[in-house]
Amino acid sequence: MADSSTLSARFPVKRPFGPLGRASIAAKLALGYGLLGTFSIVAVSAVFYTGTIGVLDDNLDGKIVMQSDRLIEHARFPGHGALVEEVRRQLADGVDSDREIFQLITGNGVPAAGNLDAVPAGAQPAPPPRAMMVTTVVKRDGHERPARLYLRPMADGGLLIVGRDLSEQHAVREVIWRALLAGAGVSLLLTVGGALLFRRGIEGRLGEIRRTAAQIEAGNLSHRIPVSGGDEFALLNRDINRMLDRIELLMEGIRHVSNAIAHDLRTPLSRIRGRLDDALRHEMTVPRLSGAAHDAIDDIDDLIRLFERLLQIAEAESGMRARLFERLDLGRVVADIGEMYEAIAEDGGIALTVDAPASLYVDGDRNLLASAVASLLDNAIKYAGPGAAIRVRAGLHHGQASIAIHDNGPGIPEAERDKVTQRFYRLDKSRHLPGNGLGLSIVSATATSHGGSLTLEDGAPGLVARILLPLASG
């Protein structure tokens, strides 16, 4: 275990994203959603605003023009008597009269009738050449008020002003604006707050992963990411944990292999060295030297064989052979290998029965599978001992092709069954029996590379070693 201060120095997990925003996905997301939120609020407000105030404005202009048209009818009679009368009537009718504005100005600039205190800015010093709509400030009842006015010059040089006091409308507009601003502010705050919460959540989850990665890098391979809930992070964490399990297993395997190599390779090497040294130091007769050379070659051949087996495992485990697979009859292979071992079993006082019907088709490498079967038979003969009975059966087992080798020997204790497929693992701790502890790992690797598996079961008595392979499709 590395000490934790150097660990946190190299992996500043507490503040994993540095200053706010710098390259942090969470911060970018928060910022992005904040902007998006603001933009949508602006869009909604714009639509709402034009849909209310805009409509009011349009209607207002229409009404004013209509009223002006109606009034001008009275100007057809000579003099302004009828028009003045009508303006007065309109002002006194009590309908909307606090908002309505009427003003009639005669040709010489004298106000004839109306409710304005002064001639508005647009009509001074002379009336406009043609009718026009203006928004301006008028003086009415002693107050300055915003107003919308329709200025209509008349044939005799007079001017008819019809309009509306806008104070109320302005007040409404202000209320709407304020409401929109308040809404925008609140939703912006909510968006930013939510984004910050989201960012904190993500940082928390990522922090777990980063802390675990730091632990792993520091050599603590057994550390795992805590998995909670069923969200995307939980799924990711579960996947990473599974990957870590596999890596830990492989690392353990490598450590184990290194230890075993240290033992299994050093022993024969020191034996070879000792023999050659011995042959050179004593009387160097030809038979003696040639004997030593022969022995050395035998030992070296064993070592080469060991290396080849290690390579074979590596090759099978790398899983790159499938393209060389061919359709083959597993029953035939088992029968061949069974026949090959009949003599040796008989010599060892072992009753070997082989039950391998033909036409059990799988896709695979014939030589590798033959080697696997031979390896299992070797083991059974070696461990079951003289007088034992071994049954080899090829057939179907739960929809898969199966090769089962059942001996009635001592079997393998349950606790050891998982370990015996590890490289260099030997039940015979003293390593007296011949072998290198690679047999079952090769069989296991071969089965795995064929998409199958090697299982060791209690034979009651003895052991059942079973290779399961997927049947050839079609």
């Binding site: 070659i297 080849e308 090959m340 490498d365 030589n367 070797d378």
Partner: protein, 240 residues
Amino acid sequence: MMENRVRCLVIEDEVETSNYICKGLREAGYLVTACATGPDGLDYATGEQWDLIILDRMLPGRIDGLSIVDKLRALGKQTPVIIVSALTTIDARVTGLRGGADDYLSKPFAFSELLARVEALLRRSAPGADSTQLQVADLTLDLRTMRVTRGPKVITLQPREYRLLEYLMRNENQVVTRTMLLESVWDYHFDPQTNVIDVQISRLRAKVDKDFPVMLIHTLRGVGYRMGAGASDETGQGLG
């Protein structure tokens, strides 16, 4: 015999291995030419007539062993080729054999294994008499009736024993190794951890040689077997 010596080309870049192979082949009576690079190898292999080519798979000079075999076969030359290679995976072996090589031997190897394979290849490529009967000393194997007799005695064999004996007799006086037997008689290529082949041979020997004054199946320690009436100084030493 001397005028008709086997011409053998060795293409191998590693000097010591090359010397080891050449020396052994010369001792066996072959005319040996050696070269060390891919381009040289290609020139030699395609430019002259050879009885046998032994080549390394990985060679310096951008032309590897497999492409030499490729060119050779493209030119229609059926010269027997043995690849020796440190690439020992079954994958490498299969691509080597599919690429047109006749045999594939992984490094490191025993020279006896190489020589046995060389001889087997040369015999295979030599036009042999298509006989219906094999004969070694007083042992006779009739290929049509599958009847085996030694002197007056009829020998009953299991089918596999019959094929084993047939292979040994076809390679009379030649060394055959265990791997060669496994490949030719059983048609498998793997390395059995136990002496299955030895046990099969001793069974066969019990039927063929027992009770006869002259041993025909000889064990060569650390190498393999040889069938023949000639005495072998190593007979009896091995596992038989």
